[in-house]
Assembly symmetry: C2
Homo-oligomer: 231 residues x 2
Amino acid sequence: MKLEKVTKMPETPSVRSYDDACGAAHALDLVGERWALLVIRELMFGPKRFSDLRSDLPGVSANVLTQRLEKLREIGVLTRRKLPPPAASQVYELTPWGYEIEPVFSVLGRWAARSPLHDPTLPLSAASLMLSFKTMFDPDRANSLETRVGFRIGEETFLVRIEGGKCDAARAALDGAEVIFTGAAQVIAAAVYGGVPLETLEADGALSVAGDHALAEKFVTYFPLPPKVGG
Amino acid sequence: MKLEKVTKMPETPSVRSYDDACGAAHALDLVGERWALLVIRELMFGPKRFSDLRSDLPGVSANVLTQRLEKLREIGVLTRRKLPPPAASQVYELTPWGYEIEPVFSVLGRWAARSPLHDPTLPLSAASLMLSFKTMFDPDRANSLETRVGFRIGEETFLVRIEGGKCDAARAALDGAEVIFTGAAQVIAAAVYGGVPLETLEADGALSVAGDHALAEKFVTYFPLPPKVGG
DNA sequence: CGGCATCCGGGAAGATACTG
DNA sequence: CAGTATCTTCCCGGATGCCG
């Protein structure tokens, strides 16, 4: 049995680095590979299982997801944890430093929203929608209103708190929500960013609004998209 | 002359998009390819020629640079312009929207600077150094000092203005600078971020400081790096 | 179900050489 | 100087299969 192919000798484990002291360049070395940032985005509101990530990131293949999770774990962005029995499955969770990447999504999102090529009607994950609320919230529109708005998207529930001119979102029970939206993230985005009237979506059965309906009508106006370039 | 290879039928022009309404995902569709963000970084302080970009981005190959510039031009991030004679060469320049991406470098840089794997002693472009000043400036350290510090890095000169608790940097003539650093960006980074004494670098002949030397000593302390994770 | 290993096809990235 | 052209290498994405 002799070596039949001496094609490669991976002494250098293909570390395709930018070799650049610039912080942004190093960030790209860390999370610049395809899908890496979106994996982190999906974990911004708490731990998820491998399968959750796969279904929330349609398009990523299992092996690529495995590679990204492994690298992100190695560099300290996330950890793998085994849930206590009976649900003895594994989950991936961001480290404190991993959570600190959140402003990247805000500035990237704000910048790209001005692109003429941006299509806000494409599919959207629940995490993306919640991040978009934190990114696009306009305190002037909310005019010092303080409230809690609940969302039921698939299996998950989120609570969006508007208070003190800030807008925060978190995975949480819906206790104390003055109004609750139930529907797909893409449908809620159509109401908030697409200007589709709530009643239209409710008539379609795509969305259900429970509680303070007048508040719901106001809420969807609090997140203006920036003007497109050249517009 | 017949077709010798009917290998591919690029009906789908390899639009490897994330198909995701999330703004950050769209940003990655726009500038998520390898080298794209670094090309933009090099243009943050004004137009450059193709060859300038090549030499400021060691590691990018000519064909990849061509592809990136072409795509960035198509999507409206930059334009190609022909300089008036006699220097009738072409330059690439960011559009107003292109310049708006700057906060991305700040948040990426700030986040990645906390990585244990970040090596601030690697090579550095002049644009990266100037961006790092805007990113890492600490108004408390400057303590309401107002000054102008000049830099001569290769063929370029930059003026860093500290005033009103802000730190701005621009490609400009060095008129009015109270002190002028002359040397490679990497050397200046060693002084500012590596804690290497100015006199050491000057003794090596790697750096020259002209003007208010006491101000230079203070200046290099105004840009503290964030603590590494787990440190 | 959850995760990893492997193979394969296509395409993007990297290196080099060459042209206007 | 400003890019092409070509070739090789490697990464991405899909499919399959193994193993707990």
